[in-house]
């Protein structure tokens, strides 16, 4: 506390000196954003019939599931008492946006993601159960809910229902992440957060980060499997990434220009903060290296004819920069919103611990965990249908 006080500049109210929302609260919108974005990429193929992105359809769904499972963990760690979180479902407080998020989460997890993955994989699950023995067979039989029916008619029904769920899933994914933005955007005491644009900005940045993530996962997984990357697919994903990014960047600039032109009583204080304490994370990392540079790189691939190798490298660099940039955006929203005094007369700093409950170590573990879960999901439900002809999917 004394070291914090020494770094305070100007006047802070006593309860503002130490930040209450830590790096874990940065991770929470970041991870939910990746989920929503990955799902929206998957729905491109299913609902909008973008055939080119088909190779990533299942991978995107599994990625979304892997990250969605981890999404509430930062909140649990931050709040403590995870055993009490169930109360949120038992006695829902309907006029609290934060409390009702549990239902949005559960709806998205169970009614959308799990159901869609199950319907899409059902044929594979049944074939796997048929072709294996012992424990593995039992496991896949349970996954198939004991059903062995993969007649063309039943699969057609699955397909129709799956499509319907995806259609419901798109507004659900919008809801999931728009909701996170809403939570920040509705904090009227905080001018850094309080804007009706917040849910929309969060949503588009989510789409951007999710598309970038699936693109990178697809590239890495293809490499690990020693399979060639489907360039038509990769080019299409990169193009959608560019489009989503342009909308996202426009919205963020609209917010910025609106703030500058409106210049309300908080503006001087926030402007100073962006130019001082947030300069590195906002101007350099988020805007220049995390947005303008990947936007430029992706735009380059659209106007200049490049070799396959060059395009792959550019996509990889642009994807990594995008993920860093969107993380910086979440950081700047969550941490930035707590660095200035509500008196607009002073600034504090955020000191991140390392191996504490809300420190850097749990944050790193939470960020890595979804990749292990994804690896496990891929082992159980291989997303590539290209390995074997339909009747002998049992090869792995």
């Amino acid at each position: 506390m004394d070291t914090l006080l020494a770094m305070v500049e100007g006047f802070m109210y006593p309860n503002e000196v130490e930040l209450q929302w830590s790096v874990l609260i940065v991770l929470y919108p970041y991870i939910t954003g990746l989920v929503a974005g990955a799902f929206i990429l998957a729905s491109l193929e299913r609902v909008f019939n973008v055939e080119a992105v088909k190779p990533t359809y299942r991978l995107a769904l599994l990625t979304a599931l892997a990250f969605l499972v981890v999404a509430p963990l930062p909140l649990q760690l931050h709040l403590g008492h995870p055993e009490r979180s169930f109360q949120m479902y038992l006695t829902p407080k309907t006029d609290s946006a934060m409390a009702m998020f549990g239902f949005v989460y559960l709806w998205y997890l169970m009614a959308v993601l799990v159901l869609e993955i199950w319907l899409d994989y059902r044929r594979d699950i049944v074939l796997k159960a048929r072709s294996s023995t012992g424990f593995v067979r039992g496991f896949y039989q349970v996954l198939a809910l004991g059903s062995d029916n993969i007649s063309p008619r039943s699969l057609e029904i699955d397909e129709r229902l799956g499509r319907f769920i995806t259609i419901v899933g798109i507004p659900s994914a919008f809801l999931l992440h728009g909701y996170v933005g809403f939570l920040f955007g509705s904090v009227k005491a905080n001018p850094w957060w309080s804007t009706p644009l917040m849910p929309v900005v969060f949503l588009f940045s989510a789409i951007v980060s999710g598309i970038a993530l699936v693109m990178l996962v697809y590239m890495v997984v293809s490499r690990l499997r020693g399979k060639p990357i489907d360039m038509r697919c990769l080019d299409t994903i990169a193009r959608y990434l560019l489009y989503a990014f342009i909308i996202d960047f426009s919205l963020e600039m609209l917010d910025l220009i609106h703030r500058m032109y409106e210049a309300d009583e908080s503006f001087k204080s926030l402007d100073f903060m962006v130019k001082s304490r947030l300069f590195v994370s906002q101007i350099l990392i988020q805007i220049i290296f995390g947005t303008l540079l990947p936007l430029g790189l992706l735009a380059l691939t659209q106007v200049v004819r490049l070799t396959e190798m060059a395009r792959k490298n550019i996509y990889a660099i642009a994807g990594v920069l995008t993920l860093i940039g969107i993380f910086a955006m979440r950081w700047n929203v969550v941490i930035g919103g707590q660095l200035f005094s509500k008196s607009f007369l002073g600034y504090t700093v955020y000191k991140m611990d390392f191996a504490t409950r809300e420190g850097m170590l749990p944050a790193i573990i939470l960020m890595v965990a979804p990749f292990f879960i994804l690896w496990g999901l891929i082992r159980i439900l291989p997303p590539w249908g290209d390995d074997a002809p339909p009747s002998t999917v049992d090869t792995e």
Binding site: K93, R122, I157
Partner: protein
């Protein structure tokens, strides 16, 4: 018709699974939510009784002033008049209940004083603050200041 059902059977099973989940949830709700939840607001009404049955540790200022009326009169005019007795002297319900048998210890003044009066950027300019080491060089605060009536005016601007 039977053929059609056969092709939807797995969906019925999944719907059944969701139904079971929902049923478990409803039963859990019935079992786990306390009967008086929501009677008075979004909380368990009997929580109020639970809290009020906890043994009191603080006697409250009125109880102190019943006996210590001299201190009360002294404090009434001082800058410290709004501070509760037990904020410095600690929770003393045991003493108030049994004033002849339980005697509180006299608190050490300096740590209590600096809790409020140590210089800190977040404190408003009108509030008297000092850097203790520079101000008293280790001398206890109550060597010069009387905690019950600090009397800033008489002591001077350095508080």
């Amino acid at each position: 018709m039977r053929e059609l059902f056969k092709d939807k059977e797995h969906l019925v099973r999944m719907a059944g699974l969701f139904g079971v989940g929902l049923l478990v949830f409803v039963v859990l709700r019935g079992v786990l939510i306390p009967a008086d939840f929501g009677d008075l607001g979004h909380y368990r009404a009997s929580a109020l009784d639970d809290n009020s049955s906890v043994e009191l540790r603080f006697a409250g200022r009125a109880a102190c002033e019943l006996c210590h009326d001299d201190v009360a009169a002294e404090r009434a005019k001082s800058a410290h008049r709004s501070i509760a007795c037990e904020a410095c002297h600690g929770a003393l319900a045991v003493h108030a209940d049994n004033p002849e048998a339980v005697f509180p210890e006299r608190p050490e003044a300096t740590p209590l004083c600096v809790a409020c009066h140590e210089a800190n950027v977040t404190k408003p300019a009108w509030f008297p603050t000092v850097i203790p080491d520079e101000h008293s060089e280790g001398e206890a605060c109550d060597e010069c200041h009387m905690p019950h009536a600090p009397g800033f005016e008489e002591v001077g601007s350095d508080g």
